[in-house]
């Protein structure tokens, strides 16, 4: 078993001490570093350059559907609450136009090996609307025909109707991620998300029946009124359905940043102590049920592709979380979506009107982004290794980036020293390794190597806490 795979032991005192804000490193540099000076022309140029690599990267496409039928109070995502299904039609029409603008930028021999629909609630779209989106993607890009391709969709089980999953499977979807959070009725009422075990189970069963390769379930700890008893029961119920993957996210209460959270009664939130207890419970139960730890908030069954990739060192991390698809250029479609093409990041406007105006005027809607320099690429490589493998091979990194590690990272190593003293990380001449104690705090270790966190800024970026 690789170093990362065993479920890390739980050390409350340590977690408490290191429970401080830090980026989640779905990208490095992180989105707050993107600048408005980087626009559509820069994105198009990056696409053109990426076509001219000796082996142009395969493509991974993310499409964002921002709408939700009802507001979950914990949500920190970019979403729009509406029950007006007509909005789906107008949004889809523009998505299709964006796809038509994006497709020609990429050479036709670049296969799409991953599609992910995220939100918001992707199943705000009807299956036929999702079908239309896929058709436009198929027209303007070339889909891989390999069985290893991933077409995945986030589903809100409350709005999945009979026959929907079959229709999605027919279109080629083979992975689904279901939001659950907690089945405890008191918690569900407090966060405005009432969802029965039965309707959730029905969706999981349908996915299995129609040949989905994996089902993921999202849980959240730290929600109002959550208790060990209630969350424990939720964990038992979920584990009984054997989802191939499980994400157990920490609820970050930042109402000044995420307005929906203002509706949460702060007095009902568990204390830091209780919250840690919930995480401990999740770790113990998942461990006992045979799940492996993938990294950050993610767990998977040993036979799942993520576990297998982790064993082979083929695990990667991008805006969609952990993935087995190494070295793809990532193309984002829809409001707020992020693309990662070549050495660049670019992001669409986060507000719907700005995105709509760009599409309607026939322009790529790039709002901001950045060109990575050699230092960014080096640190991105290092942080990727830490987040995915839990360790960094120093000589390999030195060779690849032509640096002397000890000299180049003298300041980072100094920042790492207290973490080393606390036994979170081991540092030798050839390796930096997160210990079993440190694996729940990977982002704190990674943050030591983040150049932007350690330089003076006009306005400090705000990040959620680690646990």
């Amino acid at each position: 078993m690789p170093a990362m795979a065993a479920i890390p032991p739980f050390d409350a005192e340590l977690l408490r001490r290191y429970d401080r804000p830090g980026p989640r490193y779905t990208s490095y540099p992180t989105a707050p570093q993107f600048k408005p000076g980087f626009g559509a022309a820069d994105f198009a140029r990056a696409a053109r350059l990426s076509n001219d690599d000796p082996i142009p990267r395969r493509l991974s496409i993310y499409a964002h559907v921002p709408f939700c039928f009802s507001p979950c109070f914990y949500c920190g995502c970019n979403r729009i609450i509406t029950r007006d299904k007509a909005r789906a039609d107008t949004y889809l029409a523009r998505l299709v136009r964006e796809v038509a603008m994006l497709g020609p930028l990429f050479d036709r021999d670049r296969e799409v090996v991953q599609i992910h629909l995220g939100g918001g609630t992707p199943n705000f779209f009807s299956p036929s609307q999702i079908g239309e989106l896929l058709e436009s993607l198929d027209t303007h890009f070339r889909f891989s025909q390999s069985p290893g391709r991933d077409f995945s969709i986030e589903l809100d089980p409350r709005f999945v109707e009979a026959g929907d999953i079959e229709a999605l499977a027919f279109m080629g979807f083979n992975r689904a991620s279901l939001g659950v959070q907690d089945f405890d009725p008191a918690v569900q009422a407090a966060v405005n998300r009432i969802q029965s075990v039965q309707e959730t189970q029905a969706v999981i069963d349908a996915c299995r029946q129609h040949g989905f390769r994996s089902v993921n379930v999202d849980l959240i700890y730290g929600l109002p009124l959550q208790t060990r008893a209630g969350f424990g029961k939720t964990l038992d119920t979920v584990i009984a359905t054997r989802p191939d993957r499980l994400a157990v996210y920490s609820y970050a209460h930042m109402p000044q940043l995420f307005r929906p959270q203002k509706q949460i009664d702060e007095t009902q939130l568990p204390s830091a102590e209780e919250k840690l207890g919930l995480l401990q419970l999740a770790i113990e139960k998942l461990s006992a049920a045979g799940y492996r730890y993938i990294g950050m908030d993610h767990f998977a069954l040993p036979g799942d592709d993520l576990s297998i990739a982790q064993e082979k060192g083929g695990l990667h991390r991008n805006f969609m979380g952990y993935t087995t698809h190494a070295d793809c250029d990532l193309v984002g479609v829809g409001v707020s979506s992020i693309s990662h093409v070549g050495d660049t990041y670019s992001q669409n406007p986060r507000d719907l009107p700005s995105w709509e105006v760009a599409i309607d005027s026939g322009h790529l809607p790039t709002w901001r982004g950045m060109q990575l320099d050699a230092d960014d690429n080096l640190r991105a490589d290092l942080i990727q290794q830490l987040m995915c493998q839990g360790e960094v091979d120093i000589p390999e990194l030195e060779e690849r980036h032509e640096i002397n590690f000890g000299v180049y990272f003298a300041d980072a190593l100094a920042r790492l020293a207290p973490l080393q003293a606390d036994g979170l990380v081991e540092v030798s001449d050839t390796r930096i390794t997160a210990t079993s104690r440190g694996r729940l705090l990977l982002r704190i270790i990674a943050a030591c190597f983040d150049r932007y966190l350690h330089q003076p800024q006009a306005e400090p970026a705000r990040f959620s806490k680690a646990i």
Binding site: D53, P54, P56, R400, E402, I403
Partner: protein, 249 residues
């Protein structure tokens, strides 16, 4: 080692010469030194015209039809030479690395018969050709070197002449690149490819998709590893085997 810990790149920056020393990649230094001419002597003869550049990516160094009066040695970067055929299609003639000469094919004409464009940041050393030729009559070693450089230009014909597979041609192209880098003191196994796949395809007379397919196959066979523009030859012997028929050595 710089104080920031970043090591100099393995290519394509050459050690710069100065008033007295030749650049480490200079195409003529050996020939001249063996004849007892050092750099000061050449300066006296006003043969060594000037260091020019930098030229930036996409910038032309000369164009077809420009008056020919100088040949230039690449000091840093990569220069692509090409012509446009009757239908306006680009035909890539070659890629010139540090230490290599551009403009040699202009010798028989009074004008440059091709275009030369910088693929990245390029620095050149320009020589007055009439004066160089005059000097060569007095320096047999220099003359021999000029002939050697001329004959190197013919390599591409061999690459395309025979009935070779795309894999063999690609292997030969990579082996030749690796040898040229090694000759100038750069890494023979880690190459930074400054040319686009369109250029590579054009040069090798393959479709761009074929270039990628062949490279991917070589990668799956464990002969090379490609990450964007960085290419590592992981099995030099295996790649040489494949290239042998084309390179005949």
């Amino acid at each position: 080692m710089s104080p920031t810990g970043r090591r100099p790149r393995h290519n394509p920056i050459a050690d710069d010469g100065d008033q007295l020393r030749f650049c480490s990649t200079c195409a003529f230094s050996d020939a001249c030194l063996s004849q007892g001419y050092n750099k000061t002597d050449l300066m006296d003869l006003h043969v060594l015209v000037e260091h020019v550049g930098p030229y930036h990516e996409g910038e032309h160094i000369f164009r077809e039809g420009d008056e020919f009066n100088a040949i230039a040695a690449v000091r840093a970067g990569t220069v692509k030479t090409y012509v446009l055929d009757a239908s306006g299609q680009e035909q890539v003639l070659g890629f010139h690395l540090p230490g290599e000469i551009i403009g040699l094919n202009a010798i028989s004409e009074a004008r440059y018969p091709c275009n030369a464009v910088a693929l990245d940041t390029v620095m050149l050393c320009r020589f007055s050709f009439p004066k160089m030729a005059l000097l060569a009559t007095r320096m047999p070693g220099l003359q021999a070197q000029l002939f050697r450089l001329l004959s190197q230009d013919i390599g591409k014909a061999a690459l395309l002449a025979g009935d070779y597979s795309a894999d063999q041609r690609m292997a030969a192209f990579l082996v030749a690149l690796s040898r040229r880098f090694a000759q100038r003191g750069f890494s023979a196994t880690r190459l930074h490819l400054t040319m686009t796949r369109t250029d590579m395809a054009n040069y090798l007379r393959l479709a761009p998709e074929t270039v990628s397919r062949v490279l991917r196959r070589l990668q799956e066979d464990g002969r090379i590893r490609v990450d964007r523009r960085e290419l590592e030859i992981t099995d030099p012997a295996g790649l040489e085997d494949l290239a042998r028929a084309v390179l005949r050595s």
